[in-house]
Subunit: 754 residues, 2 copies
């Protein structure tokens, strides 16, 4: 049992009598005062000692410490406030309990770094109030969904509370009287661990990020409380049989490439407990080699999370808040801990951008390395991230050219992504010039804003943001993929068919079957550069096979101000109808609709000083619809964003093809405009028996052709496509042809790439 030495008690009494803060060397205080079973285990005494000694000479660490101290001193001045839980997210008690776990963690840390007992006492006093409060609590009065918490409306938030508070508690635990320690051990952390595990076993044993927070909370509590059973439950599930728990979660929630199926936004969120708990495991049970587990997938996950960002922000796919980026605290932990494991200097570039470090040994190491100017560029690169535990549940294809703020095309061929997944199979987004050009709405949600239903997902998240029409992919008969049932979606991942990159061409292709009964669609997208084009362009080829005539809609959500509508359309000028009744269509105001036609059309817009021309056509006559989100939105929950929809009616088999071309410059400061006109004169599709060729004729007459086989995954098949005066032969799933003029010679053109 816990047996403080009489010296420590004496010391504690002395300190209690002293009004002024008593500064003592932290390491001394820690090593001499207490029994081993109360000593810190999440960060060791030696590590605290090293941080105290070296922190001041690593500016980023010192700055972080000063900031934490300033913040905490303010809070200490305000006094302790542990309110009875009442409010939902964003409300007073919710925010106060959040502030409290931050304060407990900060107080424990600052006590160790400064030796100032005021901090330890503050954490103690607050935790003692929790020890009184917690045992009195039942389910949260604003309890939400299946798993209400006690301190918060969701168990999830309770878990997060523990993951942070236990770190602060670990740091001060050996300063406490036996009675205080027992009270906090039992009434706070053991009780909360019990609530989160055995009493909420369904949640705890899920393979889901909420459960990861729960197992991290319970497992870290286990180490601090010296309770092996808690650790075991955390690692292997409440039954301790390995069918649930942390290890199973690592097995199933990450793909072999470190991709997390809910997408980057939730990967970021889920990553924190994975990384923090793994760090605790590595310290306390190094023999588990947790960071090497499954070929080092946790470290890959950190790298992958950075790869799934642009301009500092995560790709906002699935339920995602647009303003989340690499400086989020979860990734600060991820980068610092991954760097400690790998010494990979590219991670330091991310830390530099974060401008923050953990107040931990890992944070100190990063701060020191930055001080020594060891950072190397992160080096974003085109990459295919396989999805699914075994890597066969589709993939996210990321095409990139021209560095960090160049072109990035993300093709979302991943699996559904559970309850936070959107119905957006083979969706794509595109970045250029530092901007979101072809967009994804992300989630309809104002995180933590009480006026917006407490900050939860708004009704429009389901009625708009998740729906297929809110994405840049095929909609059949105005319904969403899987008829909007994510559980069906989970069973039907897309298939990644092709991923290839060369200097001037990057291609990805995927096929989706089962999103609609009797319909399969195959999409090939390419990012191609050409000496006659100022920027690389995106080529899109979407082939649909259906078993009955249907309405096919292909939306393109773009950002920018329309410069030219390159087609005749009837404008909704003085009243503005709604496009449809349901599945997201009820949220679209119609701005213009064209008559059905087969010729190629263009839409040009301006965004942040650059022009974009989208040139598009189809295999059968289609209408072009210009619309905007925001209809049927009683509480002004939606952003109003434009969309172009190609609509083809009455076809079974259909092909859509298009090219998106960034060009020119609008400079308001220097008052000039350059390259405001598209440099592509013509977009053609030449159909063969088993393949398509998309031919771009560029100003001046040169042609760039992208040939794509109907089955782009078959590498050894020969193809021959001719027509419109062109003649192309190649072997394999795709080929690129560059020619000096569109006038085809008698001989087939030579493929430039395989």
């Amino acid at each position: 049992m816990i047996r403080p030495t009489s010296l420590s008690l004496l010391l504690a009494a002395t300190l209690a009598l002293s009004a002024a803060p008593v500064l003592m060397p932290a390491a001394h205080a820690a090593t001499t005062q207490h029994a081993a079973d109360a000593a810190p285990v999440l960060v060791t005494l030696d590590e605290w000692k090293a941080m105290t000694a070296q922190g001041k000479s690593a500016p980023l660490f010192a700055k972080e410490q000063a900031k934490a101290a300033k913040e905490l001193d303010k809070q200490i001045k305000r006094g302790i406030d542990v309110p009875v839980p009442k409010d939902p997210g964003g409300g007073y008690t919710h925010e106060q309990h959040k502030r409290n776990y931050q304060a407990i963690e900060a107080a424990g840390t600052l006590y160790r770094l400064t030796g100032d007992m005021r901090y330890a006492e503050y954490a103690r006093d607050m935790l003692l109030q929790y020890a009184k409060l917690y045992p009195t609590l039942g389910p949260h009065p604003a309890g939400r969904s299946e798993v209400p918490g006690r301190l918060f409306w969701q168990t999830l938030n309770d878990s997060v509370w523990v993951v942070h508070a236990i770190a602060g508690y670990d740091a001060i635990r050996d300063t406490l009287s036996a009675a205080d320690r027992k009270s906090i051990d039992d009434n706070v952390f053991r009780a909360m661990a019990r609530f989160m595990s055995d009493e909420s076993a369904d949640n705890f044993n899920k393979i889901h990020n909420h459960a990861t927070w729960a197992v991290a909370a319970v497992g870290m509590s286990g180490y601090v409380l010296r309770d092996e059973t808690l650790v075991n439950k955390a690692l292997k599930g409440t039954k301790q049989d390995g069918n649930a728990g942390f290890l199973k979660q690592i097995d199933q929630l990450f793909s072999p490439d470190g991709y997390y199926e809910e997408g980057p936004y939730y990967q970021r969120y889920a990553l924190a407990p994975f990384i923090l708990f793994a760090d605790a495991i590595a310290r306390n049970e190094p023999q588990r080699k947790i960071f090497q587990y499954r070929d080092g997938v946790l470290l890959k996950a950190v790298d992958t999370l950075v790869q799934t960002s642009y301009g500092g922000y995560f790709f906002p796919l699935n339920d995602a808040i647009l303003d989340k980026g690499v400086d989020t605290e979860e990734l600060v932990a991820g980068i610092d801990i991954a760097y400690a494991q790998t010494g990979d200097a590219r991670l330091l570039a991310v830390a530099q951008q974060q401008k923050r470090v953990l107040l931990s040994p890992e944070g100190l190491a990063v701060a020191q390395a930055l001080q020594e100017k060891k950072a190397k560029p992160f080096a974003f690169h085109p990459t295919l991230l396989r999805d699914g535990g075994d890597g066969t549940q589709g993939a996210m294809a990321i095409l990139r050219m021209n560095g960090d703020d160049g072109q990035t095309l993300v093709m979302k061929n991943t699996t559904q992504g559970m309850g936070h997944g959107h119905f957006d199979k083979l969706n794509w987004i595109f970045y250029d010039n530092g901007q979101r050009v072809v967009t994804d709405y992300g989630a309809a949600r104002f995180l933590n804003v009480e006026a917006k239903q407490g900050g939860i997902y708004l009704p429009e998240n389901k009625s708009w943001a998740k729906q297929t029409v809110a994405h840049n992919t095929l909609v059949v008969d105005e319904t969403s993929h899987f008829d909007g049932d994510w559980k069906i979606g989970e069973q039907r991942p897309p298939k990644q068919l092709l991923f290839a990159t060369s200097d001037d061409t990057q291609v990805s292709a995927a096929r989706m079957e089962g999103a609609y009964p009797g319909v399969s669609f195959t999409r090939t997208m390419a990012l191609v550069s050409h000496p006659e084009l100022s920027e690389p362009v995106v080529i899109d080829l979407l082939r649909v096979h259906g078993d009955k005539p249907a309405r096919y809609d292909l939306p393109l959500h773009y950002a920018g101000h329309v410069m030219q509508v390159g087609f005749k359309a009837e404008r909704a000028l003085a009243e503005r109808p709604v496009l449809g009744k349901d599945n997201g269509y009820q949220h679209l105001w119609v701005d213009a609709v064209s008559q059905p036609a087969s010729e190629q059309r263009t839409l040009e817009w301006l965004l942040d000083g650059r022009f974009y021309t989208y040139r598009f056509a189809g295999s059968a006559p289609s209408r072009a619809i210009l619309a905007e989100s925001g209809a049927n939105d009683p509480d002004f929950n939606l952003r109003r964003e434009p969309v172009l929809i190609q609509r083809m009616d009455g076809q079974k088999d259909a092909t859509f093809f298009g090219v998106l071309e960034p060009h020119g410059e609008y400079n308001g400061t220097a008052e000039y405009v350059r390259g405001a006109n598209s440099r592509i004169d013509k977009l053609e599709r030449v159909r063969g028996s088993d393949a398509d060729v998309i031919v771009l004729t560029i100003a001046g007459g040169k042609t760039l052709a992208l040939a794509v086989a109907d089955d782009p995954d078959k590498a050894d098949v020969e193809h021959h496509v001719s027509g419109n005066g062109y003649d192309y032969r190649w072997r394999g799933g795709w080929a690129r042809f560059d020619a000096k003029s569109g006038a085809a010679s008698g001989a087939a053109q030579q493929a430039k790439t395989p």
Copy 2:
């Protein structure tokens, strides 16, 4: 006449034979080669010498020079292209002639700075092509409005061409053969001067910024061509009698405070020829003391232009492009030349922000001063800028708190601003947190974008952007001020009644009579800080007197996403009507309309991480309308921006009052929300016999009251207002009262200010 020495001819011949660039010390080349009447006069030989010697050690200057050289070398490689004029603004020939004047100026400058004859020859050869082309030209084929140019569609652009090209020509003129010099003198600059002055006398003799460009072009040509008559015409008009020309323009176009009546956007544009020509005058006729002319108003104008900016961008009042800011080249010239005149180190802070300098003696001086770290903060401050040549044509009142990215309230009580003026008397805009919060649409125009009608003002500029409803001021019976006739507006400036500032209160009041027949309105706005409020708030009191019942609309154009509509309103959910028929109302989509009521209402929105609550009420029942611009916009020319309109029907006399409160923080990265709720519990108006008091009750019960006399310009009148349990007495136009609680004591509260 021009008499090159035989030495210079010999040297020129040698140089012409040499294929490789011949580098010679520029000063040497210049002093020994040529007759005095060809030597440079816009920058002297000694000055060129000093720049050559010292430029390299002033990094900003050296960088500018390297950039200019890189740009010009590229252009020299492409060869000379002097096309026959054909296209409107944004079109090919337009842009090419723009590039050419920049090239001529750069080539002259770089010849002097490097001694490299390639540059001089390039400028010469290009100018010789102009000498061939120009005499063949008639009015521009795309000629626009009353004053078509020859090289460009507007004479204005021709003038700008000369102002820049003459500087380049001045620098190389003494390197030319007599024949070449005569050809360029006569066929380019003398011919263009003749065209701009005598042949376009109406334009030249106007008191208008277009004419300033013309007089600068002619005057600078006069100095270079040693033609006193041209200089005299430039200074005093074509008749040389002083009723027109530069001096008259200085007299009439700037107010005594250096404000230019068209507003900041055109002040920036107009400033360039004023400053550049003044600089030429100062060098060639220092005895004129042009920069001291009229109490140094040209230098004041530079300072004032900076004061009329926020976050680096000019207030977008009247016809204005939103992305114009202090880094615009006109203000680079302004800052450099003003610094040379005054040595005011505050200007260096602006230069620092511009990150550019002129390649001139003045630019060198700024670059050197920056290198020596002499810059001081610019120090934006609350200020009243009187309008009109004599300072009695209204004013622009700028209230500011908390520094550069703090709160800035601009009350536009200026006169009409000629043809580019908007019908927006007593309009206001508000900045906070680095953002535009209460907005002005600016101009409906995409500068230089050919697809948008060549970049001219679009039809929507007249039908929307200029109209009163597009601004934050009173609209009577859905018509615009002066019934949309700017010439009437010119005759009826508003009257500034009050401008006062103290530590915690800044107040401005103005009255407008004659905007509508029989209607006068008086508006008082204040920026007030209070210890219980996180940020200063804006108080608005608008009193209207009319001679018959009318419809009064008071729009508030805001930026941000609606968080809470604090009143009941019927939402336009599934079809969206247009608010009105004409005068801008036809461009407003209706989102929601409330029933008429008298109680106070609120609207809360979120912008860039900060919340804003607008709380408003009126003296009689009013409706609240939520709407958005974008209706009846066939070519997608309008941005879509939200507006709240208070609508009061059937009143003669009416009062609108409101308070705009910035508060709280939304942080998506760190996932917290603070202060999302307004801290103002109540907004009341207490009416006395000759004054109003606006009382704010702040959370916790303290009150802040702003008392405003009906005639706020009368300083010595005693006022007494009581009611609602309040009792206030004060002397003068306004007073502020702070109290611990709203419960009024028997005794009148003590005025805190003035």
